[in-house]
């Protein structure tokens, strides 16, 4: 039970945890009885860390993220975010960024970014001030009055990131945010995300099925098995920061990526 050893190792840094998951399991009610989706997931994410969860399609990693976000309830086990459970979404604690940017097409860029603030009656001046600040953070000055259909895929994801950050939550959950982008845009966006992360120092949980993306972005990689999903490996990425594209060609990078692939292949 290698993963349990990793978990207890993480427990050693108790008190610093942004997210703690203890014995989480999830079962779906299927046509032929119940289908286990997630089995005995325990993990701990320290504050300010960039943790990537990687696993094959359908392993339940998106479900796990939805539960961390309070968007779905698990059958069993506990989730603590900064020591508190997440019975429902709380955008002041956790920002969520989805695979499809899911911007509202009837709102301009600025109005989209302000959407979570407007739900809680923040004043108009305050909203504008914060959304403008987010817009420059993601490098989209001058695009505030555009509508989503006037933006490229990468720009939409930037807006989506700005929207996730506008309430300044300490935790950012990202569900394959760059999966729908072409490879070049994806590389650029990964780099951009690391830049934004280094200025905001959020705790990030990032889901992907790209091994390269996982190693490039992460402090730690959690590897999940095929369904029913469980955590089968926990890898510390010892590459220095800031990360550069050249690191992808190094032996360390290759070995890490290979280790993840071997783990996933075993269960597929």
């Amino acid at each position: 039970m290698q993963h349990l050893a990793n978990v207890s190792q993480l427990r050693a840094q108790a008190g610093e945890a942004a997210i703690e998951v203890e014995g989480l399991s999830h079962t779906y009610a299927g046509a032929n009885g119940s289908v286990p989706a997630l089995v005995d997931i325990s993990l701990s994410v320290r504050k300010g860390r960039f943790v990537v969860i990687v696993g094959p399609s359908g392993c339940g990693k998106t479900s796990l993220l939805m539960m961390l976000a309070g968007l779905r309830q698990q059958t069993d086990g506990a989730i603590l975010c900064h020591g508190q459970p997440m019975p429902k979404p709380d955008p002041e604690r956790v920002g969520v960024i989805f695979q499809e940017a899911s911007l509202f097409p009837w709102l301009t860029t600025l109005d989209n970014i302000e959407f979570p603030l407007s739900l809680r009656g923040t004043s108009r001046e305050e909203r504008r001030r914060r959304s403008q600040a987010m817009l420059s953070l993601v490098g989209l000055e001058g695009f505030g009055e555009r509508y989503p259909h006037e933006l490229s895929g990468g720009m939409k994801q930037r807006v989506s990131i700005a929207r996730g950050l506008v309430q300044d939550p300490p935790v950012l959950l990202m569900d394959e945010p760059f999966a729908a982008l072409d490879e070049q845009t994806r590389m650029t966006m990964g780099h951009e995300l690391l830049r934004i992360w280094s200025t905001t120092r959020k705790t990030v949980v990032f889901i992907t099925h790209s091994l390269t993306e996982a190693v490039y972005l992460a402090d730690e990689v959690l590897v999940m098995s095929a369904r029913p999903g469980r955590i089968i490996d926990h890898i510390e990425v010892e590459l220095p920061r800031p990360r550069t594209y050249e690191m992808m060609a190094t032996d360390v990078f290759g070995r890490l990526r290979d280790r993840i692939w071997q783990q996933i292949r075993k269960t597929a």
């Binding site: 979404p89 920002g95 499809e100 899911s102 509202f104 009837w106 959407f115 989503p148």
Partner: protein, 271 residues
């Protein structure tokens, strides 16, 4: 050669048709009973302008009220049917198949219930226009991208906020298309009803003058209805493009948009 501007070509075709309308009867190729010339039609329209204006007012009044019924009931019931799975499974097949029924067969029943005055026209045209509005509203709500609602929930939107801030704006384009079609159907409904059994209205003038074989006055009424329908269509279009700025381009880009888009309304100008 440069391709001519489609708008210019459309105006040219319209002008040519009007010119033909004037010239063909003058040549004697068609008797006046079949087609009175444009100038003759306009002349009787001018002579009888008080009669036609009064009839048009009656028709407009009936159209306005039946549109109110069609749009109000259509949006209300459409929202319920689209939003509540139980009602949807129960009612949507019923409404969808009723839409295919030629409701005009019920008009005699309406006159029995409401008399031959305006009430029966309003009730009949209201029901006639109700179906596309109701079905589009239901479709508009049912086909909202679930990702929008998930995102809204993740940002802490309550259920009322999800309805007012996401569901309503997201379904507007589809609802508007239904309103445009439903509004056009209420005009048809009122005019047809007036032609069948009535004592007033522009449709009544068509029937009245047809029975006494006064072709110019029949065509004058047709012309008035034509202008009314085109005016309605242009108004609806203008209103729609003002209300739903993001619709055309935004919808095209969301790949999922092809579902549930109601049939485009043919322009009444083609009539």
């Amino acid at each position: 050669m440069r391709r001519p501007d489609p708008a210019a070509v459309r105006w040219m075709i319209l002008a040519a048709l009007l010119a033909l309308w004037e010239v063909v009867p003058l040549t004697g190729a068609l008797p006046e009973l079949f087609l009175p010339s444009l100038s003759k039609t306009l002349t009787v329209l001018y002579i009888d302008r008080h009669i036609y204006f009064a009839a048009l007012l009656v028709t407009l009044y009936e159209v306005a009220l039946s549109m109110l019924i069609a749009c109000g009931l259509g949006i209300l019931i459409g929202a319920l049917v689209g939003g509540l799975a139980m009602l949807r499974e129960l009612l949507l097949p019923v409404f969808s198949s009723l839409y295919a029924v030629p409701i005009v067969i019920l008009y005699p029943v309406f006159t029995a219930w409401f008399g031959i005055g305006s009430s029966s026209k309003i009730a009949f045209a209201g029901i006639y226009g109700f179906f596309p509005v109701m079905l589009s509203t239901a479709a508009g709500i049912r086909t909202i991208d679930p990702q929008f609602l998930l995102a809204a929930r993740s940002m802490g939107a309550t259920l009322p906020q999800q309805i007012t801030r996401v569901i309503i704006p997201a379904s507007l384009p589809t609802v508007f298309a239904g309103l445009r079609l439903g509004g056009a159907l209420t005009i048809i409904g009122v005019v047809v009803a007036e032609m069948l059994t009535a004592s007033a209205g522009i449709g009544y003038l068509v029937t009245l003058n047809r029975t006494i074989l006064d072709s110019p006055r029949v065509f004058a009424a047709i012309l008035a209805i034509l202008v009314l329908s085109i005016a309605y269509y242009m108004l609806a279009r203008a209103l729609e493009s003002r209300m739903v700025v993001w619709q055309s381009a935004g919808r095209r880009q969301q790949q999922s948009s092809s579902r549930g888009e109601p049939v485009a309304v043919p322009t009444p100008a083609a009539a």
